[in-house]
Symmetry: D2
Subunit: 342 residues, 4 copies
């Protein structure tokens, strides 16, 4: 079968002909209908994140498709089932895996980012049926980006919601794909007001369209002051930073009220600096939220299948043109999400 | 000033001329713009709930109005401010009062239900400014029913939400005023599906209009089976029983899934019966939720003032006609809520 | 190998010679060093709990031993490792299993209580390595009863602790094996006072020795009044009912304060009756706690291995004399716990 | 009456004769039996923390004594009652004050650190009876340091406990007065192992005596590596930093496991730096814990009165010699806590 594999950091992916996987006991092979191309793949391909245990490796961690074959003992899915693939695979045995936060496993085996090949291929070997979320009405290729682009903000927002009562305000920094899902989910599950911040005018336009109560320019030198003014000086209940640079983290921390929450979403490279009585208010907490759990993925899929959450704009591109996807994402010329269709 | 007072259980309220209250240190007098007439007032007047420490007493615990006078040391409000009055007054010193659940005080001093006179009067003496929630845009008489009819379901739903993920289902039994607010709030703050149950066809119609996903007849002998069928036999994440009879409690308990929550809303007279391996699933919990906190009232007011929560139908009736209100409520001839306007 | 199997409800177990199990992929065979004989086995043998999907079946759900063989792909244990066996097996894929509460699985596959044979046998087939907790210093036969007799109260107490601040009181009803562990764990992890209740004088003596602050006779007609007097009329923060009869549940509910917790431990046959304003105080909750999770078992083992929690008295009896164990347990002639050593 | 007042930053306190306070409505005057001299007083006196709204001001925020007079309407205490004084006074009306975290009030009115005079005086005016915790058996001057030196670590440890299961490890950095209480409370309420770190040999000795499982030298260049080695490389469940310098915060953050908690206790001047994938593990959170609540003070007092928590070494010095206390604390020549007895 065909698979887009990384052979060397800094070099383009290569479309190879590789043996088709066959499911061992308890395993499932999925025919990939869509594999979302994620920003973090850029960092891996470019060699900024040299976390892969072997090369060549097939990338792709936002996957969905149809069950193609099941191994011995598999009971919950059968051939032909439409499924989204939870990607934060772990060892299955440790404290994190057995308490429901498998994506936090100390020995992560994330699909397409560990020794397990990912979804930029015709077939994907899934090591355990517990990673599959059955789809009822949603087409798998539409579901693919939910497994990260929607799941990651969903988990972050669930962490923030206890600090976001209806008389509170949320701050969302960065309105790319994840930030847009973040804003949508806040509108759906939180009763609070929302301030959205982005440096790009079109993203600010999108934020307005998605229902942000106030929209500010990330380049405004008065940004922090304006956020505080919008909350009568008290600060926001929670700040969700989807950018994660030194500067955005400083804004997020400075804008958060006493007893509030600062949540950095994803693994960007900035440093959060917190100094009592100066940069951070009384008992405001900071945390980096990481991806999501398979149960949270079920919840995201349910929101979309019930019609309450509309997916963001998605474009579909055949596996053969994956280089082009890389180039466009690198150049920032992507509206919403691109899904590779092998 | 005029006040509608209960002189004897089982007798109608009497409109008396009583001395106007004057605020002591830290106290506030509110000119009542509206006082919601609550179902529990019926039980008190009829003598079914003989909880009043003295008679005559002015009833009315759903109040809002304008600040008429402030006592020494009051800082957060001034004459003319529009305010909703939190009614679950407590001693202010005990464990419950100092941890934010003053309505649960072991020595309750609830307005209009303790030695403190209530809001069926021109003026209302509020013993501490912490009980007041300032209104920005909402007219006080519109805000009055929020202090109980919306606050009580808000607290109950907040308790249930952790068991109501978007892939879950909520069961709402009883679509009177509180149940309608409950359904609205679930639609607003929860991502789950909602099954609504009522014995009355018009209430079922209202439930459909408010967005219930399924609506069932409370008299249907197959009711429990139908609820379970709608959840593939697993049961609902949370059941909110706004009726609280033996029968509705049995349905609520029987319909709730493993690890789910049964919440009885308010103080109705049924008995919840829970027997392991029979009437209740593994680790499903039961609780009677009681009224709400002043912070929760701020949150309810914020939801209404931001336009996200529309108040249910409300009718305004002058204090002089309070007997008529009693009669109509008794006869069940009330759509939504009646507010007395002294 | 030898295995004590139930062939017919109401008949004694029979020691059969059965084929030794061999581990499939991902599975582990454990040489049983000890299998605790649990009270619930009595109810199963006697046919009061007819929950077994097939007969004959090897009972025994409190197991520990040494790894005898591992199937393909098993990585976390190897032959000879000393292990305790978590017994609340589930499907491994559903909401409960993937969020860390596998013992609550809607399709339970509990060891020795489902189609899986239990530990009253020389060898035990464990279907997944995630069910094993490695032992460092503890002898497996000593660890066996921890997997239920200590784990079940541990989970129950963890649920109760948020309602048991140091200025609060806990009520423990029933000082059998589980109740004794409950009392020990409260002393270890809670700062609160403890009232212990039992009908048997020797159990009350044990409670005193284990550090209960007050000890009351379960047959005392003034029992509830005495508990309330010990808490200045306010009630206890949490009541843990290890008996679960109608009468003990009524005491537990009646004794619990506003905002407190009533936890029934295990699956006894009483009915909890809760009626607002009568039998239950404001916002006191009720729940039946069920067994525990594998992570909680790790925690219990850690408490024992660190020397902080001393196991209760344990007696060891060879598999051949399992009938005698049944008879003594039935007659109530057991101090602490009996472990069968195959 | 005599009061030790700060007239100018950087100058010693001056013992002045000032008018005795008289209680207004709802207020209480306490005859001070003891007022703990806290390290933060040093920073205020030296002018490093210029937070006082007026000078001269009587310092002293760790107070206990006997009720000397009560204002109109006070019901819960009477003349002669022994009381500890909760010091984190707030406005009493805002979100923080009405949800039980008054010490976090956005307009703090902390005793001895705001416009309210503190306890380095014969009499202390307490603005509301809700700030008083009645003592049953404890002598007030012994109770004084509990109101901060024990309360502050108590709150911090309560925040950390959910991340400190019995199979986890806690890291305590800094074994001064607060750190010693922290260690004692971890031993009392947590089942986890404890690693204690201090730069001073005698403090390390104290840590051993108080039951730390491992004790490390804060100056050890291998410190972080050693902590990680003690946790098989995984890191501690929670790190409690009682020092709060850049260096100790870096150790605390670096030592904390995935999903763990870093809690800085108190308002020291270091900066916490958290960078995803580098200095901080997946979903480890950071927070500065601040003082405690009046309910938490009740819980601390209950722990001491029940004999479960022994106060740390305390020395009593008359008000006249308060300068000497300042000098000794400044020179670091204090074992445990010094209480001024006016």
């Amino acid at each position: 079968m065909r698979a887009a594999r990384l052979h060397e950091y800094g070099k383009p992916l290569r479309i190879d002909d590789v043996p088709a996987p066959r499911p061992g006991p308890g395993q499932v092979v999925v025919r990939v209908a869509g594999a979302g191309f994620c920003h973090s793949d850029l960092h891996v391909i470019d060699g900024e994140l040299r976390i892969l245990p072997r090369l060549p490796l097939t990338l792709g961690h936002e996957n969905a498709g149809f069950v193609a074959a099941v191994g011995a003992g598999v009971r919950s899915v059968r051939e032909g089932d439409a499924v989204a693939v939870f990607g934060g695979w772990g060892c299955g045995r440790c404290r994190h895996c057995t308490t429901g936060v498998e994506q936090l496993c100390d020995r992560p085996e994330w699909v397409g980012l560990s020794s397990w090949d990912g979804g930029y291929a015709e077939l994907l070997l899934v090591p355990a049926e517990r990673h599959l979320v059955k789809l009822s009405t949603l087409a798998p290729r539409e579901a693919a980006p939910l497994t990260d682009a929607a799941l990651t903000p969903y988990r972050a927002i669930r962490k923030a919601l206890p600090a976001l009562a209806p008389d509170d305000t949320a701050l969302v920094i960065g309105l790319g794909g994840l930030g847009q899902y973040g804003l949508k989910l806040l509108r759906l599950l939180g009763g609070c007001r929302v301030i959205a911040v982005d440096v790009a005018p079109d993203k600010r336009e999108t934020a307005r369209a998605l229902g942000a109560d106030s929209v500010l320019d990330g380049r405004d030198p008065e940004l922090l002051k304006k956020v505080l003014d919008l909350t009568r000086g008290l600060g926001v209940g929670a700040a969700l930073d989807f950018v994660g640079s030194d500067a955005t983290l400083a804004t997020a921390i400075g804008a958060t009220r006493t007893h509030g929450k600062v949540v950095q979403v994803g693994l960007a490279g900035g440093t959060a600096r917190m100094k009592a009585l100066e940069s951070v208010r009384f008992e405001a907490s900071f945390e980096v939220s990481l991806w999501g759990t398979v149960q949270e993925l079920r919840e995201v899929v349910a929101l979309v299948e019930s019609g309450r959450l509309a997916p963001i704009a998605t474009e579909y591109v055949p596996l053969e043109r994956i280089d082009e996807v890389y180039a466009r994402l690198k150049a920032g010329r992507v509206e919403g999400r691109i899904v590779v269709t092998p």
